[in-house]
């Protein structure tokens, strides 16, 4: 490898290359594992430099402005209901996403930064399962017939329910998830609600099944006793 271009890794990590050199380096980077590794480590250093630069606070309006602009903007989302071409890049992306999810258990950097550890391990395990499904590039969305949110169905019928706007279940109560095949509901997990819930559906969700959520006695019951607060379209 040309030593000159290798040395540009530092300038690239600091955004200090002229446009032409930047392009040349990016081309080189695609095929150079050594530079990729070096760059990853230099980026850690530039992140430290970024953290050291803390200045005043942004205006409160900036957050809303960003979210409003995002809502108005089309996104490069994974197309719904299309078999993704599993190129090498995507496959790696999926592995990386799964690895990222695993990182939660390792007391990921941000979690410790914000002092937000202390969730029960089983809760984390369930969340990891849900996130693995949600971030599976071959999963598809199914709209809800009732409630706000969506059902995400990955291959082999693994599914996660995303429900927005459910009040936290009152004391002595819990939300219970059901997989309904025909008219037969099967228990598929419980959750507490409140804000946005991302819940792994236990068992598998087959074709034409419906996933529904009811409010039940704490601990869950064997068959639903109330009207669903959320329900998917048939899968």
């Amino acid at each position: 490898m040309e030593p000159g271009i290798h040395e540009l890794t530092a300038g690239y990590a600091l955004d200090a290359l002229d446009p032409e050199e930047r392009r040349a380096y990016e081309e080189h980077l695609e095929g150079c594992q050594r530079c990729k590794e070096e760059l990853a480590r230099f980026w850690d250093v530039s992140t430290s430099l970024a953290l050291a630069a803390t200045g005043p606070d942004p205006s409160l309006e900036l957050r809303e402005r960003i979210l409003t602009a995002a809502r108005a903007e089309p996104q490069n989302v994974v197309p719904i209901q299309r078999k993704p071409r599993l190129t090498r890049g995507w496959a790696l992306g999926a592995v990386a996403a799964a690895a990222a999810v695993v990182a939660i258990a390792l007391g990921a950097w941000a979690a410790s930064l914000h002092g937000r550890l202390g969730h029960a391990n089983d809760r984390l395990a369930a969340d990891r399962a849900a996130l693995a499904i949600v971030s599976d590039p071959s999963a598809r969305f199914v709209a809800l017939a009732k409630g706000d949110g969506r059902l995400v169905v990955a291959p082999e019928g693994r599914a996660a329910m995303i429900v927005d706007g459910l009040e936290k279940a009152p004391s002595g109560k819990t939300y219970e998830v059901w997989v309904i095949n025909g008219t037969k509901p099967t228990r598929a997990g419980v959750f507490a609600g409140g804000g946005r819930s991302v819940v792994a559906v236990q068992g598998t969700v087959g074709k034409d099944a419906v996933v529904a959520v009811t409010l039940e006695r704490a601990g869950g019951v064997n068959a639903p006793t109330t009207t669903p607060v959320a329900a998917s379209q048939p899968v």
Binding site: G4, A52, L124
Partner: protein
């Protein structure tokens, strides 16, 4: 109400953003937005331009989250890289650079919105980085600070400092490699956050 996504890593949040999840984007902003703005402000020295850089970067996160790979960089690193790239692009376009970008943006103590633990962590991290920078040879430190905080390219630095371009390139590489060693040496082995600071 605390976000339901509070327990997720930034990497997992980016995975949700790639699925069009606005709540996850908001959570990412709540975690990284202040750091991002602090960085953009340090480079640009202007509220409006700094906010533009942060907004552009978060919209880039929104648009391109599906292409993010956790193998390449941590999500926070990725976002701050996008912010920095936009900030230096803007500073070059606006020709806003000050003669002395080395002045620290002192006087911006942690704002009331930061939690005590976050403020303590940032304070600790900033001290650590500044201590490491002070240990670099002056020429290396100067090259890194003028490039990263001042937005100067290597060839602009060569001209400004009256040195050959090759010297600047080598200096920057050696300086960044040394800074990495210094930071590794002082890092907590369980991660950058030292839990002792929380209690």
């Amino acid at each position: 109400m605390r976000s339901q996504l509070a327990h997720l890593s930034e990497e997992a949040l980016v995975a949700l953003v790639a699925r069009g999840d606005e709540v996850a984007l908001a959570e990412l902003y709540d975690r990284v937005g202040r750091m991002a703005y602090g960085l953009a402000f340090r480079v640009l020295r202007d509220d409006r331009l700094a906010e533009d850089a942060v907004q552009d970067a978060f919209l880039a996160v929104w648009r391109t989250a599906a292409g993010y790979s956790a193998e390449r960089a941590k999500a926070t690193t990725w976002i701050l890289t996008l912010v920095h790239r936009r900030a230096v692009d803007l500073v070059r376009r606006e020709q806003r650079r000050r003669a002395e970008p080395l002045d620290d943006a002192e006087g911006h103590e942690e704002a009331a919105s930061a939690s005590a633990e976050e403020a303590a962590w940032l304070h600790f991290e900033r001290e650590r980085v500044q201590a490491a920078l002070r240990q670099l040879p002056d020429t290396q430190r100067e090259a890194i600070e003028l490039a990263y905080y001042g937005g100067f390219t290597q060839s602009e630095l060569a001209e400004r400092l009256g040195e050959p371009l090759g010297t600047i390139k080598s200096r920057m590489f050696a300086g960044l490699a040394r800074l990495r060693e210094l930071l590794d040496d002082t890092a907590n082995h369980e991660g950058p956050w030292n839990p002792e600071f929380t209690s």
